[in-house]
Amino acid sequence: MNILLLAIFSWQNLIVDAPNQVMLVDTHNRRSQPYPGLLITQTGAGAVIQQGNDLHWIPESGQPLKLGNAPLAGLVPMQLPFVSTPVAVGIEKIAIWHDQKWHLFDLAMWTEFSPDANLVGGFKGFTAIAYQLVQMDRNRFIAYNPKTGVSTTIGLAPQKVQQVVLSKRLHLLRGSKGPIWMGLPKEGRLGLATWDRPYQIKSSQKIDYLSEHSFALVQGETLWVATFSERISDLLANWKTELMTLLVTPVSLRLGTTGSTSKLELPVTFEVGTSDSGSPRLNPKLGFRLYGVLGTSDLAIHSESSIHLINKSGSITRFKNDSMPLAIFAIEDTISVIRNSGQIVDLARE
């Protein structure tokens, strides 16, 4: 499952992780400035930034806060859009800032090890597959590990950790009334639960082609779900045309209802390879990226030289845009993008 959220703050103030620097963007005054330090955690309400061995909390509103020394060595840069308090994550532990101090909990990511590779093989090292973290309220968090199916509930006051085992390869999102489980109560369905009973599905929606490879993005009260067919015949057809059909559906988190589905033809390329024992593999490389349009509930899709803007009623507007932006926002009728350089550019309709 692919979750996409890039910018974290209200549409007036953004922190974006630009190459080699952290950038503070004031969309109202259309200015951006580099911020010293390394971006560690982007949450839905602020950012944790490391300067030397010290951590700082830059909230969406209010004054920056010193968080003292890093509670863990080797922090993993994370985007946690469904968390609102300062969090710092290592591969085997998580630190949560609560009542003016860090609270450490054992919470391991899943690690895939890549052994010694040759030039053609590419890379060696490891890939950490993170859990999905949702903050339920000030004191409670759920961390779901899609590789093991283990869901851990962390309580801060009083400190309490509980685990349940769910299906693997689900995806956990934060809705306004409770957690959203993609893949529950069964494959292909989107299940809504409540904060009191986070694992009990109260209602669910069927979404065509919903799978672990689908995309999801929460934009205010709207959950955007983007899916595509994974049938072999369709993948082979996509390989020939270098295009794939993406089905984009808005789901109202308040009402639990789905809106009309839009279809877009988007670029995709494939690499042909084999497993170690020679079974052929087609590895798709997507030529597009999804964004929430800050300041609206709309979805934007960047591909090649265009941005498609989709609103909840399913109408699509195309804008010219050359390079992949860091973030997209709207002020009144003007759609603007933030480029890698920090420059803000207004988009023109095609």
Partner: protein, 376 residues
């Protein structure tokens, strides 16, 4: 062997009857051990380090410098830390593997941080350090669950260290201490280019095919008429031949052949050996072998590699560990090709790792693992 947590993922000879072995328990962080036949001793490696091994030496690179630990049968020696002139940021949440390359008498360490690749020539108390930009290695841009901590594979070809950064190929000349970027030839469809760089040539092995066309899959060599069909499984450069010999392994792309391979658990693999002779890459030998793809149990791993020179003629030989009863070896010919008849070199191993100095077999022994060198 006691003390190994999880299953072996990589191994290399250390000294005498000792090996370096990297092991990982289901989804947990990998650990590095120094193991003899009785016990595996874990190395205490920290976050924000890069680590390499060479024979009995363990190199630990941190932000301040390089520490070298020498392990011998008589014990362990620590050399004074070689300090960098200024700290080198790493930002690794766990240790990452580094590469050690030998160029004549010089030892070079190569490692990467998020935005840079670093090459360092080790002196007695100091080191020369060369830093170059590296594109951060992200997996699919949209997948926020996956956090890659990977370093590019680096290969030595004569005086060059080669690595790839996205589609770009870089070479660092150890003698001139200069880096060059090599533009890849223009390509269409699913083609990709692998450098066949030597000191006096800049040719490419181009593998892949046209978009949506299984029949067009294959490989070719630029500036030559060489062209073979099939899906390229692996390309292996002979590390003993300074980049002047390589093997391409292909399997047929037809859907019927693939179906038969899946049903029979047996796959025909074509092996093509090339050598640089004069100004051309020449095919020295070409033959087909069968890979029995059925793994005998959950511990068994089918694989093949060309790392070790079994017959001592200066060319690496092909060693296969598959579902058959024996590990088998296709020895090199005088011309640098491979004989088409194989030679058995012991019973099938659960796991077989190959390196230029030894092949190491691992076999599950109840709840633990036993290992043995398979030497020429």
């Amino acid at each position: 062997m006691d003390g190994l947590q999880g299953d072996p993922k990589w191994a290399q000879p250390a000294f005498g009857e000792s090996i370096w072995v990297m092991a990982q328990e289901n989804g947990a962080l990998p650990s590095l051990y120094l193991a003899d036949h009785v016990k595996a001793r874990p190395m205490n490696l920290q976050a924000n380090t890069c680590v390499a091994t060479q024979a009995g030496r363990l190199f630990i690179i941190d932000e301040q410098g390089i520490r070298i630990h020498q392990f011998e049968p008589s014990g362990e020696q620590h050399q004074p830390e070689i300090k960098f002139e200024s700290p080198q940021a790493l930002h690794n949440p766990h240790w990452l593997p580094a590469t050690v390359l030998q160029n004549g008498n010089s030892t070079w360490l190569i490692w990467s941080s998020r935005h840079s690749i670093h090459l360092s020539k080790l002196g007695k108390d100091t080191c020369d350090l060369f830093n170059y930009p590296l594109t951060p290695i992200e997996s699919r841009l949209s997948n926020l669950d996956r956090h890659p901590f990977l370093t590019p594979a680096v290969e030595k070809r004569h005086q060059l260290a080669l690595w790839m950064d996205g589609d770009r190929v870089h070479s660092f000349n150890f003698t001139r201490k200069q880096k060059i970027e090599h533009p890849t030839p223009p390509m269409s469809g699913t083609h990709r280019a692998i450098p066949l760089l030597t000191d006096n040539s800049e040719q490419w092995l181009v593998i892949g095919g046209e978009t949506g066309d299984l029949d067009s899959l294959g490989y070719s060599i630029t500036e030559q008429s060489t062209r073979e069909s099939g899906i390229v499984m692996r390309v292996i450069f002979d590390s003993l031949q300074a980049g002047t010999r390589f093997a391409v392994f292909t399997t047929e792309s037809g859907l019927g052949t693939q179906l038969m391979s899946s049903l029979s658990n047996s796959r025909k693999i074509n092996c093509h050996i090339y050598r640089r002779i004069g100004v051309l890459w020449r095919e020295i030998s070409s033959f087909t072998f069968k890979l029995d793809t059925e793994e005998r149990n959950d511990n068994h791993q089918v694989n093949f590699d060309m790392q070790l020179d079994w017959n001592g003629d200066g060319f690496s030989d092909l060693v296969i560990n598959d579902g058959k009863k024996n590990v088998r070896c296709y020895l090199s010919t005088v011309a640098g090709g491979l004989h088409e008849d194989s030679k058995a070199i012991g019973s099938t191993a659960d796991i077989l790792f190959q390196s230029p100095t030894a092949a190491i077999r691992f076999d599950r022994n109840g709840k633990s693992w036993a290992w043995q060198f398979l030497k020429p």
